[in-house]
């Protein structure tokens, strides 16, 4: 178990990177706390697997240093770093039995056989493959194989960190839920530092204490699920987290008001300049209110009733917007749209601009 420090890490797959575009992973400078559960969340190709492979040593970063508990491990091999990693697609050793598969990482490191047996039995129990211990791994189903991969990742107790690269992709939904809660349990019990890569926000938000959102090779925000929801630092975080994602509207700002088309929208405070790039206003559908009286006139396009609440798709000034209404709320006939001021964020060039009374990222 260790604290993992990424010290100005960058990575380019091609030789001699020149501009920022050549980097698959733009500069990351962050510390993963010892014993923390982190999720790396982002769309395919955003660099999350690259970052994971840099931590495990399957890749060596082009720039920067990697430290485990303050020790520079940048040049060490995967074996020397003592990391466990579970991959997206199951990797099992076909010719070995299930038992031997799980024992493999331990035996390779010369662990005594009674200890191997104890650990393997424990893991077999956990992944519910006890009855299969003596069977060859060859004939198993994809999710059984993935459970073995997972088990091999968890079998060593002395690892510095356990890394998961979208490990539940091939597992069926019910089992996904079971395994995820087992991982969570395991994390509480042993306190391993765990880093979990996924593109599924539910998976990330339920697993992790801290979520690292990545976009186009860059870390755009690191925070608790609540922070990501309440104050997305980048419009991408707004889109990507939440269902439906945040509404983003082009505006111009004057003092503590924003002008959208010919309508004025109240802001909680004056945004702190200077503001370069396109100015946008972001508001989550949860904070968009539909009323009869004040606000901007809107045209309802569609109402999706999804049980506990309704999603209203509407247009204001020819701009699509969604709102979430409680199940019992009526959709007015000629609705007007109102944004709760304290839930509004202003973005300049896609990055959030703080308000006057706000410290960085912290509400006033």
């Amino acid at each position: 178990m260790a604290q993992i420090e990424l010290d100005h890490i960058r990575h380019a797959y091609g030789p001699a990177p020149k501009s920022d575009k050549d980097y698959a992973l733009k500069e990351v400078h962050h510390t993963f706390r010892d014993g923390g559960a982190y999720a790396l969340l982002g769309p395919s190709g955003c660099g999350k697997t690259t970052l994971l492979n840099i931590i495990s040593g399957l890749l060596h970063a082009s720039d920067g240093r990697l430290l485990f508990d303050g020790q520079d491990v940048s040049q060490l091999s995967t074996q020397e770093r003592n990391i466990a990693q579970v991959f997206q697609f199951p990797v099992v050793y076909d010719t070995m039995t299930v038992y031997d598969n799980l024992a493999f990482p331990l035996r390779n490191r010369g662990v005594a056989e009674p200890e191997v047996d104890r650990k393997v039995r424990e893991i077999l129990e956990m992944i519910d493959l006890g009855d299969w211990a003596k069977r060859k791994a060859r004939g198993l189903t994809a999710d059984q194989k993935q459970k073995i991969s997972l088990g091999r990742g968890l079998v060593r107790s002395d690892v510095n960190a356990i890394l998961f690269d979208e490990p539940l992709t091939v597992i069926d939904p019910h089992m996904k839920w079971v395994l995820r809660s087992q991982l969570k349990q395991l994390h509480r019990r042993f306190g391993h530092t765990m880093v979990y890569v996924t593109h599924d926000q539910t998976e990330a938000l339920t697993f992790a204490d801290d979520v690292v959102v990545m976009y186009e090779g860059e870390v755009v925000q690191i925070g608790t699920p609540d922070e990501l929801f309440a104050r997305p630092r980048h419009t991408f975080v707004g889109y990507f987290i939440g269902s439906p994602g945040m509404n983003v509207l082009p505006v111009s700002v004057e003092g503590a008001r924003a002008k959208f088309g010919d309508a004025w929208i109240e802001l909680p405070d004056r945004p702190r300049g200077p503001m370069g790039g396109a100015i946008e206003l972001g508001i989550r559908p949860e904070f968009v209110q539909l009323a009869r009286s004040d606000g901007m006139p809107a045209e309802i396009v569609k109402v999706e009733d999804i049980g506990r609440h309704k999603i209203v798709r509407a247009r204001i000034q020819n701009h699509a917007i969604s709102a979430i209404l409680r199940e019992d709320e009526e959709v007015p006939a000629e609705p007007r749209v109102y944004f709760a001021p304290e839930a509004i964020s202003i973005y300049a060039g896609s990055w959030r601009v703080d308000y006057e009374g706000e410290r960085e990222g912290v509400p006033a």
């Binding site: 492979n53 495990s56 040593g57 399957l58 091999s77 995967t78 074996q79 990391i83 466990a84 990693q85 991959f87 997206q88 697609f89 990797v91 050793y93 076909d94 010719t95 070995m96 493999f104 990482p105 390779n108 490191r109 069977r135 060859k136 060859r138 004939g139 991969s149 091999r152 990742g153």
Partner: protein
């Protein structure tokens, strides 16, 4: 389900039947025909029953050729398979080295068999051959024409030179189909180089290895052209393998009946051994 029954559709199969008849069945039946008859020339044939078969199976000459051939196949397999795996493991996986290696490996396979024989026949000659001359100049008493051991070495080295590439290419194809994740997982699990070979590469090469062993066994068991060109079966009979012996019997001695019986026995042995190989290798590592 409603099916239309139209027996005339069977006529569609006719062209294939005709082709197979002319390419395989009729020649084979001709051989069978010869093997059960005897002739004293004049195109007169007499029924001989199983006499030829008994003669072949009882002859020391046949069993000696058989033993030589089995020894040859065994030695060739023992060298070519491990060597082929070794070379395939060390071939580059990406970059400019890949096409270079592949072309180099494919070259020996593209050379006609009798040309291979001629190359080595000249190469090994003591008077003008680079190998033969150099070996003798360095003090080795090498002469494949007079020394049986040297003849064997020459024939085996020639076969290894000619055919190891086949094993290499097949193994290489098996190796490159292994996803990267397996090697990554092995590194995470702390597997040694040997363990990676034993538990990842070998199991994944299993199927292509089966094909390689089968092909190399059958080809080496039926080898004719190359040793015939180099040694002509000599010195004495020391490199007379089954097919060389067969040709001597059929054309050299014009002993058609015995040669035909020997052909059939030879054919059945190849068939049997291939089946044994196939069964054994497909069952290796399978669950009971």
């Amino acid at each position: 389900m409603n099916r239309t029954w139209n027996n005339r559709a069977w006529f569609m199969v006719l062209p294939v039947l005709v082709l197979v008849a002319f390419s395989a069945v009729i020649p084979l039946m001709t051989v069978v025909n010869y093997s059960v008859q005897d002739t004293f020339g004049n195109n007169q044939f007499f029924w001989a029953g199983t006499e030829w078969y008994e003669e072949v199976l009882g002859s020391e000459r046949f069993w000696n050729s058989m033993a030589r051939n089995l020894a040859f196949s065994g030695i060739v397999l023992l060298i070519e398979v491990p060597l082929g795996i070794f070379v395939a493991l060390n071939m580059p996986r990406k970059g400019w080295g890949v096409p270079v290696c592949l072309v180099l490996m494919a070259l020996p396979l593209l050379i006609p068999w009798n040309v291979v024989g001629t190359i080595w026949q000249v190469f090994g000659r003591v008077d003008i051959g680079l190998l033969g001359y150099a070996a003798n100049a360095l003090g080795f008493d090498y002469n494949y024409v007079s020394d049986p051991f040297d003849a064997w070495v020459t024939v085996i080295v020639m076969d290894v030179w000619h055919w190891t590439s086949l094993v290499v290419l097949l193994c290489y194809a098996g190796l490159v189909s292994i996803p990267d994740a397996y090697y990554q997982a092995a590194r995470i699990d702390g597997a040694s180089r040997l363990a990676i070979f034993r538990f990842i590469q070998l199991p994944k090469m299993n199927r292509v290895l089966l094909i390689a062993v089968l092909l190399r066994f059958m080809d080496s068991f039926m080898i004719y052209t190359e040793p015939f060109v180099v040694t002509g079966g000599g010195p004495g009979n020391t490199t007379t393998f089954l097919s060389i012996d067969l040709v001597k019997l059929a054309i050299g001695e014009f002993n058609l009946g015995e040669a035909a019986a020997m052909s059939i026995i030879y054919f059945l042995i190849v068939l049997l051994l291939s089946w044994v190989f196939y069964t054994v290798m497909t069952n290796v590592g399978q669950e009971k």
